[in-house]
């Protein structure tokens, strides 16, 4: 009968992974030659439930596990266990840590976007708009989250490349309300802010609302993820740019790759990059 694919994602209570799941489900329906089982986790840092999910999949004897790891290191050991059980494993969205893979003695390809590159891309869009010496602040994602760290590095790359002046960098834990509060306060401390780099669009929305409330239309904001709620802001210029990672496609691509291997295809290797795209007023849908 049909091969079973276990899809392990992060929090499904999140537009990004929700889109991803829907993409995967549509894909499963379209192909029709495999069975999809998907799980998510309770929240961003709930490593346990991903671990439990992988263990449950091993118990159920799925043919392939396609995983967006919650932590680039924690998931290495359970995935090794899955591989030892003869399950095909594909890693997507967030790359497992190279060193950790080496230590565990596994070799696993990565299908996914370049978070750091994407952040640099959107950061440079801001740098271009501000010019050299532009004063910016960063709103970081959850401290300790791999993609948050990658995006922060990407922003810093852009700051270095564009010779921007970084005034402050703080976390708002990916959240709109917290971003709103934290940013209003940052704006009080640094009234001369010219640009804001938010590590996701939810926080960018919080920033935009804070700017509205303060009556400041001179400050430029960039985000990340291209969630549908920012489309109006891109159109009216309140959001300068964001990055689309095509999440709905990403899981489907990874599943395709996994099924190829299950069907007897060659082992995957290296980094199979997926598309990212800068979204601005010009190309927003």
């Amino acid at each position: 009968d049909k091969p079973v694919v276990g899809l392990v994602m992060k929090s499904l209570a999140n537009d990004f992974f929700k889109n991803m799941l829907e993409g995967a489900e549509a894909h499963a329906k379209k192909r029709g030659d495999y069975e999809l089982k998907a799980i998510g986790m309770q929240n961003e840092t709930d490593f346990e439930s991903q671990l439990n999910g992988v263990e449950n999949f091993i118990t159920q004897g799925v043919d392939a596990i396609v995983i967006a790891p919650a932590d680039s290191r924690a998931m290495v050991a359970p995935l090794k266990k899955a591989m030892d059980a003869g399950i095909t494993v594909v890693n997507f969205d967030v790359s497992l840590d190279e060193q950790a893979k080496k230590d565990a003695g596994i070799d696993l390809a990565f299908v996914g976007p370049d978070n750091r590159g994407g952040a640099k891309m959107v950061g440079q869009a801001l740098a271009k708009a501000l010019g050299e010496g532009g004063k910016v602040v960063i709103l970081e994602g959850n401290p300790g989250a791999d993609n948050a760290a990658q995006r922060k590095l990407g922003f810093e790359d852009a700051i270095a490349a564009g010779k921007l002046d970084l005034l402050d960098s703080r976390t708002a834990h990916w959240e709109t309300e917290e971003a709103n509060s934290v940013f209003s306060t940052m704006l009080t401390a640094h009234p001369d802010i010219q640009g804001v780099m938010a590590a996701n669009d939810s926080m960018a929305i919080g920033v935009i609302k804070a700017l509205d409330a303060a009556g400041r239309s001179d400050i430029k904001v960039v985000g990340f993820d291209n969630v549908s709620a920012v489309a109006p802001f891109l159109k009216d210029g309140k959001l300068l740019a964001t990055v689309d990672q095509f999440g709905s496609q990403m899981a489907a691509d990874a599943i395709d790759k996994a099924l190829e291997v299950v069907a007897g295809g060659p082992k995957l290797e290296g980094w199979i990059t997926t598309n990212i795209e800068l979204v601005t007023k010009d190309n927003v849908k």
Binding site: A13, K18, T176, T185, I205, A214, S228
Partner: protein, 320 residues
């Protein structure tokens, strides 16, 4: 006699002293803290927590607790958000109906919380922990995890309206504090809530229905969640099923820092107001002070403890 009245002032001031110390400290140590702009920022930032904490005060006064306010906030918001984005209504109709929807959802959830715990005699901790999961799941289910946005601009404008530099939403919260204070300290209803928190059995044997008052306290908390959800939407112009995570802890913290006893029967909503101010001032001031995120988190913990220690110290002095 002057010593006596001094003591009374101190007692009433209570946690106010800790708040004052914080304000003085941040005024002296940071440049922007006492600017009108920043003050109105702080007031805006306090608002939602304060509204939730008012409702929480009712629940804690009867010896209960409500862990579900964060999830309920999300649920109320997405229900109201759905109504608000129905295209056929005028702004006026849409906002009116959305407010009713938010209140209705909050009241329904709060009622369930109260009814289940009172009827079955279950600890409200567990019942509202259940509701925490149910309301969050429901919010995700009805929206399919998507954010609702593009509310009427005039609704959004209301969220950042100021009157003499004071945010209108904060004035609403303040009005709610006043109403809650009146209800709790002047009415029969409030008196009996305190009574239940102190000695349930005595109140029951005096011929009052515990069921009614318990359900009422949770329902009031639910209604206030509905109001908080509307304020959230007006401020941020979105309604998402994942908002409000962890808000319950902040609301409970405001109530308890404000001197209300977790075992019920003692406390005031004025204390809750001060408690919410402490939390808000601390969050704002520490950022202005320029501490790193991690240090800020540690110091927040330390100051929360210090604030209640100061309150305790004051109590010891006035008792002596």
């Amino acid at each position: 006699m002057p010593g006596m009245s001094m003591k009374l002032v101190l007692r009433d001031a209570g946690i106010g002293i800790a708040l004052l110390l914080l304000i003085v400290f941040f005024s002296l140590s940071t440049e922007h803290f006492l600017t009108p702009n920043n003050i109105s920022n702080i007031l805006t930032q306090i608002t939602i927590n304060l509204i939730l904490a008012i409702g929480m005060t009712f629940v804690i006064l009867i010896g209960g607790i409500d862990l579900s306010v964060g999830s309920m906030l999300a649920f109320c918001a997405v229900v109201a958000g759905t109504v608000l984005t129905i295209p056929d209504f005028s702004v006026f109709q849409a906002v009116g109906l959305a407010t009713l929807a938010a209140l209705g959802t909050g009241v329904a959830c709060g009622f369930l919380n109260g009814w289940i715990s009172a009827f079955w005699g279950l600890p409200s901790f567990i019942v509202t922990l259940g509701m925490l999961n149910i309301a969050r799941g429901a919010a995700l289910q009805v929206t399919d995890a998507r954010t609702i946005y593009s509310f009427p601009p005039s609704f959004n404008a209301f969220g950042s309206q100021m009157v003499f530099g004071v945010p209108v939403v904060f004035l609403i919260a303040l009005a709610l504090v006043a109403v809650a204070w009146f209800v709790l300290s002047k009415t029969v209803f409030g008196r009996l809530l305190y009574g239940i928190g102190n000695n349930e059995e005595a109140v029951r044997l005096a011929g009052h229905s515990l069921m009614f008052y318990k359900v009422a306290a949770f329902t009031i908390a639910g209604a206030l969640v509905g109001i908080a959800a509307m304020v959230y939407m007006a401020r941020l112009n979105i309604a998402s099923p994942i908002i409000g995570i962890g808000f319950e802890l902040n609301a409970i913290a405001a109530v308890i820092i404000g001197g209300t006893s977790l075992s019920g029967g003692r406390g005031t909503v004025i204390g809750t107001l001060l408690g919410a101010c402490i939390i808000g001032v601390l969050a704002n001031g520490l950022i202005l002070f320029g501490l790193s995120d991690f240090m800020r988190q540690m110091i927040t913990g330390v100051v929360i403890i210090l604030a209640v220690i100061i309150d305790k110290y004051r109590e010891r002095i006035t008792a002596a």
